[in-house]
Symmetry: C2
Subunit: 311 residues, 2 copies
């Protein structure tokens, strides 16, 4: 299995390449590197951009921390462990254009002194307007990345993502989903190879979508709708997201944890979009059962091929 040094080098490389890929789409995005130390051990490098260009806000953050395992973590993991080590990259991009979707992803690795080790991660898309081509292209890229690796499970992780990014108090999905996986403890070499493939996949797929949508003409009403939808993003992250809640309750680094919040947000009492409008179309999508964005036929044929190749 890969050692800490290999994993950190892989994650740092991913951080660099993702920032470069965003800069290729938006050369005016001014990323500010912010290196920080954690009092209890370790630290990180935040790369945060904000401004008036195609990317209104982006955070591409690497961290590598270790220390005494907080009591709540031991409880949540149901393990006995005095010390932990955690490293990962987490990404959020809030584009300026309402027709470009918000993007979130992270890949991470945990280890405890009790000898446990696991990988987790995921990637998901949050559009303000439904653009079927983008949702399908995003899911197809994730599915193909998974299909290249027998340790990966696109259909299962797609369902986990839909379950996780859900706002019970709104009866709405956060967006069109993606994949979400955690606690992958077996075949760590293979999982690591998959994670690096996933990193390359999202470094390609999201900037491509952003490039396609960043110059779409939009009205002030569409901009207002984008700011309104961002309110749901805030609600999800602050009320339901386990990582955010846990981080804030256990004295994590607040600025890093909340780097995910959108730059400008609007809240409005009792707002419902005009029936039949594109805004209503998105709302209906989010309130309906999660959609399948990748044809079953693709998943089953590839699955057969992959099984075949390993027999």
């Amino acid at each position: 299995m890969p050692d800490r040094q290999t994993i950190e080098a892989g994650y740092r490389g991913f951080q660099e390449r993702f920032v470069e890929a965003l800069l290729a789409v938006d050369p005016d995005a001014r990323f500010q590197p912010d290196a920080w130390d954690r009092p209890g051990g370790g630290g990180g490098l935040s790369m945060v951009a904000g401004g008036d260009s195609a990317i209104e806000k982006a955070a591409v953050n690497f961290s590598s921390v270790s220390g005494d395992t907080p009591g709540q973590l031991s409880e949540r993991w149901a393990i006995q462990s005095d010390r932990f080590y955690a490293t990962g990259v987490s990404i959020i991009v809030h584009p300026s254009n309402p027709h470009a979707p918000t993007f979130h992803a992270n890949i991470r690795y945990f280890e405890t002194d009790a000898g446990l080790a696991w990988f987790g991660g995921g990637a998901d898309l949050t559009p303000h307007y439904l653009v079927v081509e983008d949702a399908e292209g995003f899911h197809l890229a994730l599915a193909e990345s998974c299909l290249r690796h027998p340790v990966a499970d696109y259909p299962g992780w797609k369902a986990t993502c839909d379950d996780y990014f859900h706002l019970p108090h709104r009866g709405e999905a956060r967006g069109v989903g993606g994949i979400f996986f955690d606690h992958l403890r077996d075949r760590l070499d293979d999982v690591w190879a998959f994670q690096m493939d996933l990193a390359d996949t999202i470094t390609d797929v999201y900037p491509t979508i952003l490039e396609r949508r960043k110059d779409t003409p939009f009205s002030q009403a569409e901009r207002q709708w984008q700011l309104y939808r961002r309110g749901r993003y805030v609600e999800f992250n602050l009320v339901w997201d386990r990582g955010t809640k846990f981080g804030l309750e256990t004295s994590g680094r607040t600025e890093s944890i909340l780097a995910s919040l959108p730059p400008l947000v609007r809240f409005e009492y009792g707002y419902e979009p005009e029936p039949g409008s594109p805004e209503a179309e998105l709302t209906e999508l989010l309130r309906a059962e999660p959609r399948d964005w990748v044809p079953d036929s693709l998943l089953s044929s590839r699955a057969t091929t992959l099984r075949g190749s390993h027999e």
Copy 2:
């Protein structure tokens, strides 16, 4: 003790008078009445205003609900009860002018079929810039209202308010506080009289402050600071506020619960105001030990008088 009908009439009257007091300061605030029913029993009347005038957003909400006690409530209250009844008024005002403070208050009454009944409530002020005159005037009005009623405890409730409206993940107070009280189960007639006095007090004191500050000239930088500070309001309400969390987790009426959120909010990574600036002055105040806004001499002399008059 007052019956439900009396309490509801008192609360509805308070709602009406508070809306009128806001309209006297800002005749352009367009309050929209929104009457709603709760599927499990009861309902409410929300009065929400939003716009470009002195009041950017206000919610003055009455509710009266009853039904089966949610399991979590029984647990939290440590009581056995199958049914509950709750009524109250909750208020939030987000002014347009950065020099005018945000205001929050509520008064409420609970009853269980197990024969328990109690009052709760409070009022607090959240400035974006420190204006000593406003903070002192606000606290003085609350203190005087408390001093008129032997069941009220300004110093204790002021401390409870400071403890409650605190953001541990920022090491900051939400604002300059006020009073906060709950579970007042004894001498309910006297507590009721105090609540109605408090209602009159805040109907007077906050609109007076708003009137004084609503036309203060301000720069775009000051407006941006106001939007940034509102981010802390969102963080407190969604991450730490017990009522909000509880409401969202037990399928309360989302639009009413989140009516408290500011109309427009800005989040920025790693922002710290210029040392020595008015923005830094406020930040330092919020990170320091809570200040006493009412002179001790007033509290002790009045306390003596009150004690004397009851002996």
